[in-house]
């Protein structure tokens, strides 16, 4: 399972490095969404707003939707899917590999957009840095959940409109947990319980994926 996971993650990341979709399409989208968030707050509140952590995670959820879709689309045409299916890869390993690659991509985007939050939304640098560990766990949970929902929505072959409606209700607690822990890092407050929510979600999604990804792949 671990061998297959590494293989699939390396393959997905190599495709990403080659195609540069993350760099040229997803990242500019995230930066623009962050700027739009500032504009939506109004000139008086765009900087130093208490809403900054929430807006950061809202942007990350939107970015995640694009990246989940991309993660499934790179599996290619039905011919490629058939061909790869005949390799008989362990589905749990495929799930872990795709989730890991997606997590790495989300972490990279997340760090860039955190810098963006410091720059345009004026979040304190020290507080933002101390939010990093919780960002890593929350985005990891988003990646694990997203990989499952990506496969559920048809693995890049289904309607693109299905993925948001399937995944957003499950992203809600992650958004809350992420926003609260980021806020706690910036302004003080309870942090542990929000960590627990993100961590429980991460473990739950990893467990479900390992157990049930095969059922989805069979289809």
């Amino acid at each position: 399972m671990i061998r297959v996971a590494w293989l699939v993650a390396a393959k997905d990341l190599r495709i990403e490095r080659r195609s540069r979709v993350l760099l040229w399409q997803v990242l500019p989208f995230g930066v623009m969404a962050l700027l739009l968030s500032g504009l939506a707050l109004g000139a008086a509140h765009a900087g130093h707003s208490n809403a900054a952590p929430g807006l950061y995670y809202l942007v990350m959820v939107l970015v995640a939707l694009l990246m989940i879709n991309r993660s499934q689309v790179i599996e290619g045409s039905p011919g490629t899917r058939a061909s790869v299916a005949t390799l008989g890869l362990d589905p749990a390993g495929v799930f872990l590999g795709k989730a890991l690659a997606l997590a790495v991509e989300l972490w990279l985007t997340g760090v860039v957009l955190l810098a963006g939050a410091v720059l345009v939304l004026h979040t304190a640098l020290g507080g933002t840095l101390s939010a990093l560990p919780s960002v890593v766990v929350t985005l990891g949970a988003l990646a694990a959940a997203g990989t499952l929902y990506g496969a559920l929505s048809g693995g890049g072959q289904g309607p693109a409109t299905l993925l948001p409606v399937l995944s957003l209700p499950a992203f809600a607690p992650l958004l809350i947990a992420g926003e609260r822990s980021f806020s706690a890092a910036l302004y003080g407050g309870a942090l542990l319980q929000w960590w627990v929510i993100s961590l429980v979600a991460l473990v739950a999604y990893l467990a479900i994926g390992i157990l049930l990804y095969g059922v989805l792949e069979e289809s």
């Binding site: 559920l152 299905l162 929510i197 479900i208 059922v215």
Partner: protein, 240 residues
């Protein structure tokens, strides 16, 4: 014999208990000292929410799990899960509407960022998403498999959503029926009416589920007939 009798009696008993609930709730029980007649929602809102969040969603989850378990995998389980989720969607909508009506005089707005209201709304989107997922898949087995996995994920999400929203903020009025120590807050005829409403709406769920299931079976038979026709036509293409 007993099964047939209970199936035949399910509808009339449900209607009788619903009528009894409405009669007791609207005419027999007294208005509340603080909330006045608004408190009569006590005989509707908790019962509807009980069916929405526990009975119907629970039925859909158990049926989905039984579908995924290879030994009990059958399209019957898929049908039960689908029908229960559909009924659940209706009951969640009713829960939100009755909750909103109850909350308006207390909160001053139709929608408040109350923990239970918000988490119920999120759960409602889960059930709608389940139905959307079913519509997006034409193949029966594929549909059954994907929706069963989705239902399980949604069920696991219920406590995660509940706790996250609960910790996030709560405005909901405190316990209505029991205190935190487990002592009863509602007494006498009010308590009986509440109890009857819970039974009545639970039976209503099973009645609706049965009706919906029978409709699904009829649809299945119609699909089977058109499938056989399609098979004959397809074979004819080969002969000519």
């Amino acid at each position: 014999m007993i099964k047939q009798l209970s199936q035949r009696l399910l509808g009339p008993v449900t209607l009788l208990l619903l009528a009894l609930t409405f009669w007791l709730g609207l005419w027999v029980t007294p208005p509340d000292k603080v909330q006045g007649n608004l408190a009569r929602l006590l005989y509707l809102h908790p019962a509807v929410a009980w069916v929405a969040l526990y009975v119907s969603f629970g039925t859909a989850t158990i049926a989905s799990a039984l579908y995924l378990w290879k030994r009990s995998r059958s399209l019957v389980m898929d049908r039960v899960a689908h029908c229960a989720m559909e009924v659940s969607t209706v009951f969640i909508l009713l829960t939100l509407i009755t909750g909103s009506i109850w909350g308006r005089p207390t909160w001053g707005v139709w929608w408040a960022w109350d923990a239970r209201l918000t988490s119920t709304a999120i759960l409602g989107v889960f059930t709608v998403a389940y139905l959307a997922l079913r519509r997006a898949n034409d193949d029966a087995e594929l549909r059954a498999r994907r929706s069963a996995v989705f239902a399980i994920i949604a069920a696991i999400n219920v406590p995660i959503v509940h706790f996250s929203v609960d910790w996030w903020k709560t405005l909901h009025q405190g316990a209505t029926v029991f205190t935190q120590d487990g002592n009863l807050l509602v007494h006498g005829i009010m308590l009986w009416t509440l109890f009857i409403s819970l039974v009545a709406f639970t039976l209503l769920f099973f009645w609706l589920l049965r009706a919906r299931y029978r409709l699904d079976v009829l649809r299945g038979e119609r699909d089977q007939a058109s499938l056989e026709e399609a098979l004959v036509q397809r074979r004819r293409e080969g002969v000519h």
